[in-house]
Amino acid sequence: MQIEMREEKKQEFWRWKESNWKNPDIEWRSGKFITLGIDVGSVSSQAVVMVDGQIFAYSNMRTGSDSPHSARKALDFVLEATDMPEDRVDYCVGTGYGRVNVPMADRTITEIACHARGANFIYGPEVRTVLDVGGQDIKAIQCDEKGRVTNFLMNDKCAAGTGRGMEVFADLLGIAIDEVGERSFQVKEEPPPVSSTCVVYAKSEALGLLRKGWSREKVLAAYCRAMAERIYSLVERLGVKPQLAVTGGLAKNSGVIERLMFMIGLKPMNSKWDAQIAGAIGAALFGYALCQKGKGRKK
């Protein structure tokens, strides 16, 4: 008996675009210290090259199942944008969940320190609270005007209220991940949040709501709201000191961020830099500071 298999072309709605960028105004040859920050997260990896504390180039990619390989790929991708050889890098700092698996790193620094430092660079010295919403956890950080951590708190590792959870929902509802924010506001009135924060349960709850006749946008709005509430419950303990900056991949999702900021009563901060690379920026800045202190190893 011959069974006919139908070829199915599956669209991956969660798949966000990888990118790299180079600052055309900076000449690496005249730089004194060139530092590299590599942030290997659970979902995405970033590499940032800094010339004397200024961003020269960066790349942003998905983390694969192999952390050392992801770090390598992110580094190759950033170097691709530049004409700089890899051995010109004076100091490399690894950070993020997979930091112990960055083979080229001269040292590792936790993402808590790096995100505070990076947010300070991206959003300016008035930032006092940093929320890093990553692929698998949320970190609430308070820092001083220099980006030094004064107080921090991290949730349990869980997809609820994090980037990976949002990817799962984008796929379930068939809405591209970069449209999620916009689409979640295309509702007549704000629906109540989905009651489960656990992604697995929330997913089955969402299916129930779809069956009840809710539009995809309405379900998305309910999930964005649930996520914002979960993030809020974490910052509540630490307390919010203005200004508040959100870093990590979820900072790009206006559906969650605007709802969260509304609950807190603050306005979202804007920057010309991609908030997802904050950790890698912080790592490269620490590398630069260590070089200046003479702690950096000049290769």
């Binding site: 040292r107 590792t108 620094i109 936790t110 808590i112 320190a113 030094r148 951590v149 004064t150 107080n151 921090f152 708190l153 949730n155 349990d156 590792k157 419950s233 974490l234 303990r237 630490l238 620490f286 500071a289 260590l290």
Partner: protein, 96 residues
């Protein structure tokens, strides 16, 4: 820097807080903790610009404080926690 380790659930907030500005890395807490959650490291992983040793909660214990700290959460006759009592600089506090 206040380093909060712990969790929050429906019944309340359970955090051990180490004030790294007060901690001198003496290691008294390491010796007294019945669950061995503390270690002293030469460099603060969350504050690379700090010099000198500091106590932190060990990486493998961070997500297990719910269980590790449980014996030190009596419902009555609550003596000071061994870690809090042992810390001469008053760097350790807890939220329960």
């Amino acid at each position: 820097m206040l380093a909060n380790y712990g969790y929050k659930d429906g019944s309340g907030d359970y955090f051990i807080t180490i004030n790294t500005d007060l901690c001198n890395g003496c290691g008294e807490c390491v010796a007294v903790c019945p669950a061995n959650i503390f270690i002293v490291v030469d460099e603060d992983p969350n504050d690379p610009m700090r010099d000198g040793p500091v106590a932190i909660v060990a990486e493998e214990k961070k997500k297990k404080l719910k269980y590790e700290c449980n014996p030190c959460k009596p419902t009555q006759n609550r003596p000071p926690l061994p870690c809090v009592e042992a810390c001469k600089t008053g760097a350790i506090s807890h939220s329960w």
